[in-house]
Structure formats: structure tokens, C-alpha cells
């Protein structure tokens, strides 16, 4: 059987996550993201890959969205309303709540600010959301009779989940983005030992092992604190949701502890709504917040206020969180342009930046940027990078693989040359095959599915009773008759099978003659053989019958003198096919001859 995997986006690339999995005849689309770096058709995945002609709804059984970041759900309205898809879309409750806000914000920026046409509308977002089915953590959702999905906690952002997709006994786990170390507001990803056939994991930080989060936090706070004490302004470009909340909690507690007065602003609009959802979905946050929200909900900030555009020109120190996170558009870019000229100021990039964005450019060291309208912007402010991005690092990815114990691993959502390294490591450590398809590439993974067979209780009990103790790990050999009838498999006892099929029972016996050089009389030979066998086969019942034959279990051995040569005795060994193993062993044993010492 085959798991097909198409990656319209996301393969060996960050941004535009979109993976198509075909498992046991079911087609599932995982995530439906857009690319931040492009403003043309390339920003959405190429859905024509999926079906050349024919409706998507007929082809896809369901769509799963792992979390609300736009590179994982940005193309959803386009996909469902403009391309046309009417099947179910699955996401967790927080994702369903927050996703439309982000889509609407994205739409506003593209349509209202840049004036693009032929983009999805607010109504389309609403219609799209109507198709969404929300799932709980660890809830098994039966999509149809065979396909079932289950969500696991993934950390990363509020509501992020890993999904297990299962058809029959074949299963795939898709991680989406996840985080193996807890942070100030979310816990760590967790999965049970589900042993999927395939684990599709992100690999953003395939080649990084990070320092402990406490050091990172302290570094961050130190940088902010020092800039503020110097009277500088700090710009922290963030996505409206996710990292922003973590950093807010961090700064808020720090301000409270150090009794600092410099204002902290958060770009308006999204903030209140977003924090509202964080307050609501307390169960999805980390242990500390869950424990203390009765006294005080951590998301009710005291020091952090809403930002107004006019504040950017205010004198004196301040800290501003602005969207979007990669400095490619919107408020963060505006503020960046204003502050870039002053070396007292600082911009802290707390996460990953996609190639082609301003954020990526300044991080890679460019000091002169070409802006729209051929303006050249000289960057004098300090540029800092803090790895606050909540993706698992190489160790985390390995840890997840260890937890889930998959039979195959497939890397997506990362850069090709970094994946190469991780791939090699995974193959080396876990001895499982690892794949890293490019965009549009199809990977075929052969699975070794187990086929369930019905067995009657009587037979099962009888067979288990035969051997010694049942052993968990080892397969157990059973004797029975397999009946394949009406697309079902049954294992029944031979007697019953005969009865069902109306056949008579036949017995099959093998006989074999063994020549032994022994000048003695027949009964003496028999006695020698008997003694020999008794010595060798301690665990079996060896009997010497009065009629001069030997039985070992059901095997019969008789000795006659050779008609021509009296010195040669012919041993007749006869056994039923059930005792084939023992019988052939006995013959080979006898062929070796009798030991000379037993005279």
C-alpha cells in the first residue's frame, strides 16, 4: 500500500505550507498557507496540481489546518471560495476563533492598502469559516467511515496542533509547527507512542541547537532594558498573535519587577481581540497561567498600552510591538523607516524571516535598503536577532521522533541544505528512512499494513494455551485455516473449516527409510535407537512399544533387517505433517548414525 505525498507548497521551503496526503485511497490536504515573500500568484499554492479537471470537493476527503499562522492558513478562503471546495475543514477551537481575524487583517492590507483586485472578500472569509469543523485535543474525529483524525498539543502558538490521520491501520502524523520547549505562555508539544507509518515534521531549525530559554529570555530583557536606559526606542516586529503574547508577558513581568516607567505599546486593532482569545483559551496555555488565572489572568496587562501612529514621533524611550513580524509591510515597516536612522534605537527580530522580506535583508547584514519609489534607506539602528521563534530545534525534532516512533519520517517546511543534515542524522540515529521532497514532488512510501483477521475465541484460547507463556513482543505462530470470503478474513480451526466447506479429513504422513550399519539383532538395534533418542530428546515423550517400535510423540520408528545385508538395518520413520519439524529433525539425527559408545 502507498502513502502518496504531494507538496504543492512547503517542500524544502518555508512559507506556503500545503501538503497533500493520499493514504489508503483517502486524500487529505494538510494546511493551506500563503507565501509572505511574494505579492503575485506565487503567494498561493498551485492548486491545479491536485486535479487537472474535476471538482476539488470530489477529490479531497478533508482539509486540516494545524494553526492560524498565515503561512499555514492564508490561502484558505482563496482555496475554498475562489477555487471551490465544499468539504469539511478541520481545525482546533482557538484556531477557528483567531484565524478569521488574521485573514481579515491580511485582506485589508492587501486590498485596502495596496489596492489589489481579484482577492478574496470578507464575505468569502465568513463563508469559508462556515465549512470549518472544530476539534478538541485528543478527540478522535471520524471524518467518514474509514478516515479518522486526532489532534495533539503542539505548543508553538495558541491552538496549534499536530494531527494524526488514520485509515484502517495506516496512519500519518502531521506536526504543523511545534515547539518542544515550553515558553512563558504555552506548554511543550506532546505526542504518545502512536507509531505512525509516516511522520511529517517541520524542520525550520534543522541545524540549530538552542541555548536554554532562560538565557535567551535574560538576553532579550537585558537588551531591551539597556536600550531603554540609554533613551533609545525598541522596535519588536511580531506577528499579532503568538510570539507577541509571550514577549508581552515577559516584558510585563520584567517591568513590574524592575519598576520601569518607559511605555510599552502594542499596535492596535488586533491586540484587544487577540488578548481576549488568549484569556478565553486558558486551557491551551502553560501550567503557570492555568494555575494562576484565578487570582489574575496573566493576559490582563498593566504596563502595555495600545499604540497610536502619532506615538512613533514622541521623544524618549519606548518599546513598541508592531505587526507584521517580518517587516515586509504594514505598521512595523513604517516605524522601522522612521527609526532606522538613529543608532540609539534598536530593532529586535524575535523570529524567523522569510527570504525576500526586509527583515531577512537586515538580518543578513544589509545596511542600505531600497524601498518602494527607489528610495534608499540607510539603517543605522542596531539590529538584533533573538531566536524566540517557537519552533523545535534539531534536538526537539529528534525528541519528537523518539516519542512517536514512526516508521518513516518526511521533512517539510525548511531549507533544503539544512534538511539534508537532519535527514542524515535521523537515518543514522533511528534507522528509519527519511524523505525531503521538493515542491510539487511526489513521494511514495510503501507501508507494511497489518490486516485484521477474525479468529474464533475457542481457537484463540486453545492455541494460546499450547505454548508457554504468551510473549508480548514476539509474534505467535497459530495453526488454523484462513477463510477469505465476502471481503472478510476469518481464522478458524481446521475441523470447522472442513465442516463449513463440506470436505472430509485426510491424513498426510511422511515416511522415510534410514539405513544404519548395525550387525546386531533387530530388537537390540531398536533398543540402541531408543536409548539414543531418549538421551537426545529430553523434553519429548519417547516410548518403546512392546511390538518393537518406538514412538516419539506421534512419530513411529520401526526397524527391520535389510533383506540382502543383515548388517544393515533399515529404520522406517513415519510422521504426520503436523509434526514435520520434529520428523525431519529425527531423520537427520538418525542419518548421522548412532553413537558408537552405546554398546
Amino acid at each position: 500500500l502507498v502513502i502518496l505525498l504531494l507538496a504543492p507548497g512547503a517542500g524544502q521551503d518555508v512559507g506556503r505550507s500545503c501538503i497533500l496526503v493520499s493514504i489508503a485511497g483517502k486524500n487529505v490536504m494538510l494546511d493551506c498557507g500563503m507565501h509572505m515573500g511574494y505579492n503575485d500568484d506565487r503567494r498561493f499554492p498551485d492548486f491545479s496540481y491536485i486535479t487537472q479537471n474535476g471538482r476539488l470537493t470530489d477529490f479531497l476527503d478533508c482539509v486540516i489546518i494545524s494553526h492560524f499562522h498565515l503561512d499555514h492558513c492564508g490561502a484558505l478562503p482563496y482555496f475554498s471560495e475562489m477555487v471551490g471546495y465544499d468539504g469539511p475543514i478541520y481545525m482546533t477551537h482557538p484556531t477557528k476563533a483567531i484565524c478569521p481575524i488574521l485573514l481579515e487583517d491580511y485582506r485589508k492590507i492587501t486590498v485596502d492598502k495596496k489596492g489589489e483586485i481579484n482577492f478574496f472578500t470578507s464575505q468569502m472569509i465568513k463563508d469559508c469559516m462556515k465549512k470549518v469543523v472544530a476539534v478538541h485535543l485528543h478527540q478522535t474525529v471520524q471524518v467518514d467511515e474509514e478516515l479518522e483524525i486526532k489532534a495533539y498539543y503542539a505548543g508553538h502558538v495558541l491552538g496549534a496542533a499536530m494531527f494524526q490521520i488514520k485509515v484502517g491501520c495506516e496512519s500519518v502524523v502531521y506536526t504543523g509547527d511545534y515547539n518542544m520547549t515550553p515558553d512563558r505562555h504555552l506548554g511543550a508539544a506532546w505526542i504518545d507512542k502512536c507509531r505512525p507509518d509516516l511522520l511529517i515534521t517541520e524542520s525550520t531549525y534543522a541545524t540549530t541547537i538552542r541555548d536554554s530559554k532562560r538565557c535567551r529570555e535574560r538576553d532579550f530583557l537585558k537588551k531591551v532594558h539597556e536600550t531603554v536606559e540609554r533613551g533609545g526606542k525598541v522596535l519588536i516586529p511580531v506577528f499579532a498573535l503568538g510570539r507577541a503574547q509571550e514577549l508581552c508577558i515577559l516584558l510585563e513581568t520584567f517591568w513590574e519587577r524592575m519598576n520601569l516607567k518607559a511605555p510599552i505599546y502594542f499596535s492596535t486593532g488586533l491586540t484587544e481581540k487577540a488578548n481576549h482569545y488568549y484569556k478565553l483559551f486558558i486551557t491551551w496555555t502553560n501550567q503557570k497561567i492555568r494555575k494562576t488565572f484565578v487570582q489574575r489572568n496573566m493576559f490582563e496587562f498593566k504596563h502595555i498600552k495600545a499604540f497610536d501612529r502619532a506615538f512613533a514621533d514622541n521623544p524618549g524611550p519606548m518599546v513598541v510591538f508592531a505587526t507584521p513580524g517580518m517587516l515586509h509591510a504594514g505598521q512595523s515597516l513604517q516605524i522601522f523607516r522612521k527609526w532606522a536612522g538613529n543608532e540609539k534605537n534598536m530593532v529586535i527580530m524575535p523570529g524567523y524571516c522569510v527570504q525576500g522580506t526586509v527583515g531577512h535583508k537586515i538580518l543578513s547584514g544589509q545596511r542600505k535598503l531600497e524601498m518602494e519609489g527607489r528610495q534608499i534607506l540607510e539603517v543605522k539602528m542596531q539590529v538584533e536577532y533573538m531566536s524566540f521563534s517557537a519552533h523545535a530545534d534539531a534536538k526537539g525534532i529528534m525528541q519528537l521522533i523518539r516519542q512517536a516512533e514512526p516508521r518513516n519520517v518526511l521533512l517539510v517546511h525548511g531549507e533544503a541544505k539544512k534538511m539534508e543534515f537532519l535527514k542524515q542524522k535521523i537515518e543514522q540515529e533511528f534507522h528509519v528512512s527519511c524523505y525531503m521532497p521538493a515542491n510539487g514532488e511526489t513521494t511514495t512510501i510503501l507501508t507494511n499494513p497489518s490486516i485484521p483477521v477474525d479468529i474464533s475465541l475457542g481457537l484463540l484460547k486453545r492455541e494460546t494455551a499450547i505454548g508457554l507463556l504468551p510473549d508480548v513482543k514476539k509474534p505467535k505462530l497459530m495453526h488454523g485455516t484462513l477463510i477469505m470470503k465476502d471481503n472478510s478474513f476469518r481464522l478458524v480451526s481446521p475441523e470447522q473449516a472442513l465442516k463449513e466447506l463440506g470436505l472430509a479429513e485426510h491424513q498426510l504422513r511422511f515416511t522415510c527409510r534410514v539405513h544404519i550399519q548395525d550387525p546386531r539383532k533387530e530388537h537390540e538395534t531398536v533398543l540402541r535407537v531408543y536409548n539414543h533418542l531418549k538421551g537426545v530428546l529430553k523434553d519429548y515423550s519417547v516410548q518403546h512399544l512392546p511390538d518393537g517400535s518406538i514412538t516419539v510423540e506421534s512419530i513411529l520408528i520401526q526397524a527391520t533387517a535389510h533383506s540382502e545385508d543383515q548388517g544393515t538395518k533399515v529404520l522406517l520413520v513415519s510422521w504426520t505433517y503436523q509434526d514435520e519439524e520434529l520428523g525431519s529433525y529425527l531423520t537427520s539425527l538418525l542419518k548421522k548414525g548412532l553413537p558408537q559408545s552405546t554398546s
Binding site: 512563558r184 507512542k193 538565557c215 538576553d219 539597556e226 519587577r257 501550567q287 534536538k395 529528534m398 508480548v472
Partner: protein, 969 residues
């Protein structure tokens, strides 16, 4: 005398035994016809359906069964067991059998055979499991009977092949609890089945049911606990179990591996897939470290905890646990800790402005990077970063234990502990601060670490701040900048939280005395002295200034050059502080300043031996007072008491001892005074006044004896005897006084009887001590006992009076350590003039903060008392969680007291004080006597003697101004 005593004892003893015999025989007679079992039998026969029978059994189970009828009941139950077809009823019967065999005093060996027989024909798995459970109960009651145990183990082995996990579970449990521990005995006992219990259990490590696997490991651990030495061969099996799918199996396997690593630390095990070999303890350590990143947090907690107790592990393995190779885009990166250390060692303190040092350095060989490390790599890094705070706390505890045994590891883990000071959960922060304090002998803080540590001083939680002060008390700081930084931060802390005053001063005291050389260069700056100009004299009442002085004076103690830098007013302030805050300011030898220092210091210079000698001398003197005339005795006692009290004030180490003896002498003095009254001989009604005096004395003695018994920690039984003896004397005095004042004989009968009973119980409790008490009141009394019992109350009184006068004064042997329980209410301070206003009928919460010293079991004994002006008193029991334990012998009570009252016209003061509750039942003397030996005979005694409950106030009362306002309508 002694012979007489022996005789008495013998009499007592035989009497008791005889009674038992009588009882037993009588009970045995009844056994043949147990009414209870008969009733049960009738009930069960009546039962028509299984549900009915079940109901009867359930009802039956609610009532306890007397020891003597247990066997009969068991027989009836067994009879029905065989008859019963319904499995649920059989199950209940089986569980009842177990319950009955638990009955105290019942020996179940008579039903062993029957119980084993029941197993034979049982088909239901549940009933089988329950029966095995019953056998386990029986087996545990018959531990000293090896043959029964062997039989039971055999039965269990037989059922191990059962297909139900429940039955296998119970079998393993039974084998674990009863399996033979001593090999030799095992072989003798059962020759044909001389099986190795360990092998049998080990076979079930691979059972198909996880519950059975868990039970097997638990049984193995049980065997270990019972003293069987586990075989090393199990180790490899246990290692495989670490990869089990089920968390309870993994959790138990981790324990088993730990046990084995403690048993065979030095054995050599091979590393799979290579030819190398390592010590078993190292291997086990690596494996347990691996479990710190397990999927289940229960296992993680378990693993992290156990790591702490693996002290034999070799140091390079240990240090790996803190190691985590960082890389970024395949280039090696140094951790923040490494960078900080490097900056420090290069002599330049991290300004934080150079962030280029963050950049990744050398390229990494891709082949050499081991992502899932097989060893202990980074176990603690992971553990300390864990999602669940339970795991983090366990990891911190483990770090603490390992660091205590390895100084080099302590040095290395410092960075990580310092990081934990910023954990988001307070318990974790607190735990890591405590840990740091415990290992502080092995470490010296770098400046950057100190910086992080001191930042926590601004924490709003008082516990954290105080823990940090404690920590600073015993840390080593490496530079003078560090000291300065610490001082500045502590002063900042002082202004922010003025209530921390005491704790900060104490902290600076130790900081100063630990680092005299580092403080020395800071002195001019700290005192703001100037070589040419006189600076204004600082305000002496400023807590911050006092704090600075405490630091300097303590440093000056071991740095003779320092006083030369002081200005005049500093010396004056020294003299003042030395007197007012003598516990914080040490005596200094100030050259050329005899005027200030010399008259004070030599007289106080602590020298333990002389003062202890003084204590003993004065006691010796007192013990000879028998030979003095009454007047002399009184005077001597008075002087000695005064001396002792003063000594207690001066020498805090001897305060407990001195107070204790002073109290004892005080009691004696009171007794003597009461007896010396010349007016005893005259007729009663005339001497009401004198009676009042004597009875008051008796009362006071009683009170003081309770104080002596319960307020001091470290009191041994020798002292308890003497205290009780004194109490007995006081009671005798009371009796005499009452006899003198009351007319009529009726009430005296009761009192006399009661008193005699008390003497009796005294004798029982302290029989072993009696030989030491020759010539004492009790000794004489016991001699006269036969006469006392028969004589009339008036005669008894007369005898008592004479004995009381003639009896000698008992020596009070002093224990090694004696501390008086003290309490000091820090808050409320009682200084506020602003009344606490609240609406009458509603409640107001008053924060109470107190330190308790040398209080045993404060949760049970310390109460808060509130006294209202109208005489109404209220006693509040603080919650157990309100007590913290900052150090040995010290406790801290932080609680809230709810006040309420009807409306007052004007504000008034209420008194808050702490009480120490006692209960003579819990007294140290009676605790030592097993109850069973004398409880029967004591039953006749009034309960009041058995359990006098009372309270001793042991803190100064604090006044709080409150004002309940009338409610507005």
C-alpha cells in the same frame, strides 16, 4: 526499699496477667456458640437470591466482629462460599475473609488451609484475585511462620499462569511480600520447589499486560525492601523495560534500575554496539538521565528525583548532565554561560553592549554531532527547562544533592541554579534559592551571577526575599564590587520593604564577617568620610545607616586596621549599637579607645566555659541547701534564681538551661515558702489569708511545671520525672490546703482518692526512675502507701503534710541541650495610632507574622489568642500551611486572624498573643509507655488526669488598636 518496690511491681504484673487468663478462658467457652456467626448463618440461609445475600453480607461488614468470634464467622462464611453459585457473593465473602483476618488479636493460621482450598475450584478471575488478596493478608499476619509463607508462595506461583491480569497481579504482589528472602531457609522449607523467586518474578517482566509488568517490578522492589539482594542479571531486563509503552511500567523500571545501581555500582557492563565497558552506576545514570526527557511527566519527576541520590557516579558523567552543545546553522555556538564566564575571566565585566560575541564561531563536523545523545548529556538542562514545575523542582533538588557531594559539580551547576531564580513559579524559585544556600560552602559567586541573584531582592514575595537574605548570609563573594553591589541592592530592598529590616541587618552581619578584606577598601566610601573635611554625622535611627554600620563593624572584628578609618561619631555609634543591638554588633578591640570599649567588652566577652561553670556551681550550691536554716534556704534560692535569670539574659546559648533551672528553683522556693508558714498548726477558719497564699503557691507551681514540661525542647525523661514529682508535691499541697479550709469530710474523700490514684499512676509511669529518687516525697509516700490506702482522709492529710516537710530536695540533672520555646510577634507591631476601622458584625483580617523558636510540632500546638477589652477571649488555630520552616528549630507563622465585634463608641486596644497548647496525654513520659500494659488498670481513673489540656502564653502580647463602627442603615 528496692525489694519492696520489686514486690509491688511483681504483684501488679501478676494481677494483670491473671485477669487476662480469666478473660481468655471465658471467651474461649463462648467460641463454640458464637451468636454473631449464628445470626449470620441464619441470615445467609434465609437469603433467597444472590442480591439478598449480598445485602446481608454488606450489612454484616459494617459492624466489627470481636476477636473471639472471628473463627466461627469465618467457618460460616466458608461454608456458604462453597454453596454459593453467584460470583459477586463469593467475591464479597472472599473480601470479608480478608477483612476478618485483619482483626487485631486474631491469629489466622487456623484458616490458612481452608483459604487455600477455596482457590482450587474457583473459576471466576475476580474472585480468585480477591482470594489471593485474602491470602496476602493472612500471610502478612503470619510473617514469622515460614512454612505457611512457603505454601502461600507456592499457591501464588501456581496461579501465575492465569489468563486474567488481576490474578497475576495479586500473585506477584503476594510473592513480593512473602517470598523467601534468606536463601538458606528457603531451601530447607521447600525442597521440591526450591525455585528462585527472583526468576519467577523476572519472567513476568515481559508479560503482555502492562499492569502485570508493573506489579512484577513492584514485587521485585518489595523483595529488595525486605532485604533480598537482587541479582545483577535483572539489570539488562530492567533496561529494556525503560522503553515500555506504559508510563507506570517505565516509572517502576526507573526505580528498579536505581536500586540495582546502588547495589552494584562498580560492576562493569558493556556498551551495546561497541566494545567498551563502563561502570554499572554510570550506565544506569545515563539511562535515568535519558528518562528525564520522557513523554510522561510522572516518569520525568521520578527520574529527576532519583538522579539526586546517585552519588557514586563518576564526575565526567555528572558534568555531562549540564552540557548541551549549541549550534546555529551547523556552526558551534557558545552558551550564554560560557560567554559570561569568558568575559569574566578576561577581566572585563560584560557590559552587555558587545553582542558580536554571540555570533557562532567554528564550523561543526556534521558527523560528530550527536543529536539524541546516549549518555547523560544535558539531562539537567532539559529537566530545569521542563514544562511541569514538579519536574523542575525535582531537578533542582537532585542538583542540590549532587552538588553537596561534589564541589566541582557545584561550581558548574551554579549558572543553572542562578538561572532558576527567574523561574515563573515561585516554589521553584524558592527551592533553587534554598538549594543554593545548602551548597554555598562549595561555591563563590561571580559578579554577573551575583547580579542576577540580587535582582531577585526586588521580588514581591517575602519568602523569596528572606530566603535570599539567608543565602547571602552564607555566600562567598569574590570582589569588593560584589560586596558593594550586594549592599546597594540590600539597601534598595530596605527602602522598598522596610519590614525586612531585621533580616537584612542579619544578612549584612554575616556578609561583613565573611569578607573583611573586601569591605576594608570600601569603608571610607561607605562611611562617607573625607581625609580633610568633617562630614555631617548621619542619623543614628536610619535603618540604612545601621545596616552599613553592621556590615562594617562585623568586618572590623577580624580586620584590626579598619577602626583607624572610623571617625569620632562612628565610635560613639558603635557604643550605642553594641548596647542596643548586641546580637548584631560584635565586640571590637578598639586601640586607644579604652574609654568606649574596654569597660564593656571584657566583661561580656563570651567565654562559654566560665558561664557554664557558673551555672553548675550555683546549682551545686543550691543542692546543699538541706543543711541550711529555712531563712538561709530562701535567701539562697532567691539569689540563685536572680543570678540564673541574669545569666540567661546575657548568654543566649545558655538561656534555655538557665531559665529551666530558675523555674525549677522557683517552684521549690514557692513550696518551701508555703510550707514554712507557721500558721499550719492553728485551726483552719482563722487563716484564710494564709490559705490563699499557700493555694496560690500550689497553683503557680502547677502552672510552672506545665511550662517546664512543654515549653522546652530537649527535655529528657529524667527531667520529666522530676517535673512530675514537683507537680505531685503541688497537688499534695493543694490537698492539704483544701483539707484545712473545707468543713465536712465528704469532698475530701473524693480528693484523697484522686490523689492516691495519681501517686499510683506516677509510680507506673516512672517505675524505672524510682531508684534515683531516694528520700524524695514520692519515695516516702510509696513506703506509706499501704497505710494511706486504708486510713481516713484527715489522717492522709496529716501524713502528707509531714512527708512533704521531711522530703528532700531533688537534684535536677541538666540535659545536653535545652531550649526554651519562644515566640516573637513581628507584625502587628503595636505602634500604630491609627485604629483599624471596620463595620461591626463584619470581620476584619489582621495579618500576624511571628517567629517561633524551638517549638516542636508548631502546627499542632501554636495558637493565636485575641483578647478583647470586654474580657472576651478568642483562640484561633492557624492552618498548618501558615507555618514555614526556614531553618532547624525555627518556624515562622504568617497567618491572618479574623476579628469581629459589636460596635464600640471609640477605638480601643485588643491584645494578640501566641499560646502554646499542651495536652498531658501527649506528654513525653506517657508516650514512652506502651499503652496496652496499663491502660486497663487506668480506666478507672478520671479522664481529667489523663488528658489535661491547657495553654501557656509564650509571647509578649501585642496591642492592636481597632474600632468597630456601627453599621450604617
Amino acid at each position: 526499699m528496692a525489694a519492696h518496690l520489686k514486690k509491688r511491681v511483681y504483684e501488679e504484673f501478676t494481677k494483670v496477667v491473671q485477669q487476662q487468663h480469666e478473660d481468655l478462658s471465658a471467651k474461649k467457652l463462648r467460641l463454640t456458640k458464637p451468636s454473631k456467626s449464628a445470626a449470620l448463618h441464619v441470615d445467609l440461609c434465609k437469603a433467597t437470591s444472590p442480591t439478598d445475600a449480598l445485602q446481608y453480607l454488606l450489612q454484616f461488614a459494617r459492624k466489627p466482629v470481636e476477636v473471639e468470634s472471628v473463627e466461627g464467622v469465618v467457618r460460616i462464611l466458608l461454608e456458604h462460599y462453597y454453596k454459593e453459585n453467584d460470583a459477586s457473593v463469593r467475591l464479597k465473602i472472599a473480601s470479608l475473609l480478608g477483612l476478618l483476618s485483619k482483626t487485631a488479636g486474631f491469629s489466622p493460621d487456623c484458616i490458612v488451609d481452608d483459604a487455600i482450598n477455596t482457590l482450587q475450584n474457583e473459576k471466576s478471575h475476580q474472585v480468585l484475585a480477591q482470594l489471593l488478596d485474602t491470602l496476602l493478608v493472612i500471610g502478612t499476619k503470619l510473617t514469622e511462620n515460614p512454612s505457611v509463607r512457603m505454601r502461600l508462595v507456592e499457591v501464588a506461583c501456581k496461579h501465575l499462569t492465569d489468563s486474567s491480569h488481576g490474578v497475576r497481579n495479586k500473585c506477584l504482589q503476594l510473592i513480593g511480600c512473602l517470598g523467601p528472602v534468606e536463601k538458606g531457609v528457603a531451601k530447607e522449607a521447600e525442597n521440591q520447589a526450591a525455585k528462585d523467586v527472583q526468576k519467577i518474578i523476572g519472567d513476568h517482566f515481559n508479560d503482555q499486560d502492562p499492569r502485570v509488568r508493573t506489579a512484577a517490578i513492584k514485587a521485585m522492589l518489595q523483595l529488595h525492601e525486605r532485604g533480598l539482594k537482587l541479582q545483577q542479571a535483572i539489570y539488562s531486563q530492567a533496561c529494556k523495560l525503560l522503553a515500555d509503552d506504559y508510563e507506570q511500567v517505565r516509572s517502576a523500571a526507573v526505580q528498579l534500575i536505581w536500586v540495582l545501581s546502588q547495589l552494584y555500582p562498580e560492576s562493569i557492563v558493556p556498551i551495546p554496539s561497541s566494545n567498551e565497558e563502563i561502570r554499572l552506576v554510570d550506565d544506569a545514570f545515563g539511562k535515568i538521565c535519558h528518562m528525564v526527557s520522557d513523554g510522561s511527566w510522572v516518569v520525568r519527576v521520578q527520574a529527576a528525583k532519583l538522579l539526586g541520590s546517585m552519588q557514586q557516579v563518576s564526575s565526567h558523567f555528572l558534568e555531562q548532565t549540564l552540557d548541551k552543545k549549541l549550534m546555529s546553522d551547523l556552526r558551534r555556538k557558545r552558551t550564554a554561560h560560557e560567554r559570561a564566564k569568558e568575559l569574566y575571566s578576561s577581566g572585563e565585566f560584560s557590559s552587555g553592549r558587545k553582542w558580536g560575541d554571540d555570533a557562532p564561531k567554528e564550523e561543526i563536523d556534521t558527523g560528530a554531532v550527536n543529536l539524541i545523545e546516549s549518555g547523560a548529556c544535558g539531562a539537567f538542562v532539559h529537566g530545569l527547562e521542563d514544562e511541569m514545575y514538579e519536574v523542575r523542582i525535582a531537578a533542582v533538588e537532585a542538583l542540590c544533592m549532587l552538588a553537596q557531594s561534589s564541589p566541582s559539580f557545584a561550581e558548574k551547576c551554579l549558572d543553572f541554579l542562578v538561572d532558576m531564580f527567574n523561574d515563573e513559579i515561585e516554589e521553584v524559585r524558592l527551592q533553587s534559592i534554598h538549594t543554593m544556600r545548602k551548597i554555598s560552602n562549595n561555591i563563590t559567586l561571580r559578579e554577573d551571577q551575583l547580579d542576577t541573584v540580587l535582582a531577585v531582592l526586588e521580588d514581591s514575595s517575602r519568602d523569596i526575599r528572606e530566603a535570599l537574605h539567608e543565602l547571602l548570609c552564607c555566600t562567598n563573594v569574590s570582589t569588593k564590587e560584589g560586596i558593594h553591589l550586594a549592599l546597594v541592592e540590600l539597601l534598595k530592598n530596605l527602602t522598598k520593604y522596610p519590614t525586612d529590616r531585621e533580616s537584612i541587618w542579619k544578612c549584612l552581619k554575616f556578609l561583613g564577617s565573611r569578607h573583611p578584606t573586601l569591605v576594608l577598601p570600601l569603608v571610607p566610601e561607605l562611611l562617607s568620610t573625607h581625609p580633610f573635611f568633617d562630614t555631617p554625622e548621619p542619623d543614628m535611627d536610619d535603618p540604612a545607616y545601621i545596616a552599613v554600620l553592621v556590615l562594617i563593624f562585623n568586618a572590623a572584628k577580624s580586620c584590626p586596621t579598619m577602626p583607624a578609618l572610623f571617625s569620632d561619631h562612628t565610635f560613639r555609634h558603635y557604643a550605642y549599637l553594641r548596647d542596643s543591638l548586641s546580637h548584631l554588633v560584635p565586640p571590637l578591640r578598639l586601640p586607644g579607645r579604652k574609654l568606649v570599649s574596654s569597660p564593656v567588652s571584657p566583661s561580656i566577652t563570651p567565654h562559654e566555659d566560665p558561664s557554664q561553670q557558673f551555672l553548675h556551681q550555683s546549682l551545686e550550691r543550691v543542692y546543699n541547701l538541706q543543711h541550711l536554716d529555712p531563712q538561709g534556704i530562701q535567701e539562697l534560692l532567691e539569689f540563685t534564681i536572680r543570678d540564673l535569670q541574669r545569666l540567661g539574659e546575657l548568654q543566649s546559648e545558655l538561656a534555655g538551661m538557665a531559665d529551666f533551672t530558675a523555674t525549677y528553683l522557683q517552684c521549690q522556693l514557692l513550696l518551701i515558702k508555703a510550707l514554712q508558714e507557721k500558721l499550719w498548726n492553728v485551726a483552719a477558719p482563722l487563716y484564710l489569708k494564709q490559705n490563699a497564699l499557700a493555694s496560690a503557691a500550689a497553683k503557680q507551681i502547677l502552672e510552672e511545671t506545665y511550662k517546664m514540661e512543654f515549653m522546652y525542647s530537649g527535655v529528657e525523661s529524667r527531667q520529666v520525672v522530676i517535673i512530675h514529682h514537683m507537680r505531685l508535691q503541688a497537688k499534695a499541697l493543694q490537698l492539704i490546703v483544701t483539707a484545712r479550709t473545707t468543713r465536712g469530710v465528704e469532698p475530701l474523700f473524693g480528693m484523697c482518692e484522686k490523689f492516691l490514684q495519681e501517686v499510683d499512676s506516677f509510680q507506673r509511669c516512672f517505675i524505672s526512675e524510682l531508684p534515683h529518687m531516694q528520700g524524695s516525697f514520692v519515695d516516702k509516700l510509696l513506703d506509706l502507701m499501704p497505710r494511706l490506702v486504708t486510713s481516713k482522709p484527715s489522717e492522709v492529710v496529716k501524713i502528707l503534710q509531714t512527708t512533704l516537710r521531711q522530703s528532700t530536695f531533688l537534684h535536677l540533672p541538666l540535659p545536653e541541650q535545652l531550649h526554651r520555646a519562644t515566640a516573637n510577634i513581628i507584625e502587628p507591631t503595636g505602634e500604630s495610632d491609627n485604629p483599624l476601622r471596620f463595620t461591626s458584625g463584619l470581620v476584619v483580617a489582621l495579618d500576624v507574622d511571628a517567629t517561633l523558636e524551638h517549638v516542636q510540632d508548631p502546627q499542632g500546638t501554636v495558637k493565636v489568642q485575641v483578647l478583647y477589652p470586654d474580657g472576651q477571649a478568642q483562640i484561633i488555630h492557624p492552618k498548618p500551611a501558615d507555618f514555614r520552616n526556614p531553618g532547624p528549630g525555627r518556624h515562622r507563622l504568617i497567618t491572618q486572624v479574623y476579628l469581629s465585634h459589636t460596635a464600640w463608641t471609640e477605638p480601643c486596644q485588643i491584645e494578640v498573643r501566641l499560646l502554646l497548647a499542651y495536652n498531658s496525654n501527649r506528654s513525653k513520659a506517657s508516650a514512652k509507655i506502651p499503652k496496652a500494659t496499663w491502660s486497663e488498670s487506668l480506666e478507672a481513673l478520671p479522664q481529667s488526669e489523663n488528658g489535661i489540656e491547657g495553654t501557656i502564653p509564650f509571647s509578649k502580647p501585642v496591642k492592636v488598636y481597632i474600632m468597630p463602627k456601627p453599621a450604617r442603615r
